[in-house]
Amino acid sequence: MRMELIQPFINSADAVLAQGLASPIVIENLAMEEEAYRRKGLAAEVCLTGDIEGRIIFDADQKAATAFASHLSGTELSDTHELVREAVCELANQIIGNAVTVLNDQGFHFRVHPPTFHTSEQGSKTSEDTEALVMCFNTERGNVFMNVALRYQRRRALERTVAAG
């Protein structure tokens, strides 16, 4: 997985989380992972199809999810409030939407599917093609984990190489 694909997601997550949690962000534990994804808190998954395909999982620990939902809804919410779960999906939607905007303006074309709540404890195992980049955004209001597993769609990548000569 190439950094040019990943960097917009990191930049976007940094910006959206800083605004949504009103907290400085520190990125920690950047690593490649081939093992199956294990959920840590409240997670949302967004799939991409097109020139780039794959999925991104956003996983917020309870403290961060409640803080984000409370901050944006303007009222203190309890951990179990249904809006907290919704907020994690919206967080994923905003981060991925902003990243996709940058990638699209760089010439990559793809479709973003609506976020779905990721309920299973464990996700599918990634492969050599789609090994995942995992990172943790550490904030004063809790941690948010991002797991990005993307690959170039082979036919489009070939066309791009041919076009480049």
């Binding site: 809804s73 919704e86 999906c89 902003n98 609506p114």
Partner: protein
């Protein structure tokens, strides 16, 4: 949230009536809170493009705030269908996916403006005032003709 001078309908001085369309309950609540801070009234909500069309026909809102990525029917297609039936519909697309092609497609199909998520209240406020300017112009010309 900071204080905003209320945006009213020029003709009758009543609050601007909004239809909010987004598949996220959280996003709808967040937008509702903003438009209420602008002195507006949320008269309806929808979670997909198909329901948005039904709700528009039923409620005839002054402004629609419409997400793009939604299940069943996406926002740009719904906007096009609403504007085809109601050419004066004021639709503002509100989406995290703000690339140029998307914005151009939305505007070509009848949307009046585009706001990227995460939405900043002060940005949305300026867009609402801009989009409602034709209402003010209509009220002025009606006043001049009276």
């Amino acid at each position: 949230m900071e204080k905003f001078a209320p945006v009213k309908r020029s003709g009758d001085g009543q609050p601007v009536r909004y239809l909010i369309v987004d598949d996220s309950v959280f996003a709808r609540k967040n937008l509702a809170q903003m438009v209420e801070a602008f002195g507006g009234q949320v008269i309806g909500e929808a979670a997909d493009g198909v329901s948005a069309i039904t709700e528009y026909d039923r409620l005839n809102p002054d402004i629609v705030l419409m997400d793009i990525t939604m299940p069943q029917m996406e926002g740009i297609e719904a906007a096009e269908k609403i504007v085809r039936e109601h050419p004066s519909a004021r639709i503002v697309m509100v989406s995290s996916v703000g690339y140029q092609e998307n914005i151009v497609a939305a505007l070509q199909r009848g949307a009046r403006h585009f706001v990227q998520k995460p939405v900043k209240a002060e940005v949305l406020y300026e867009v609402i005032k801009y989009v409602m300017r034709d209402d003010q112009a209509a009220a002025h010309s009606a006043g001049a003709g009276a």
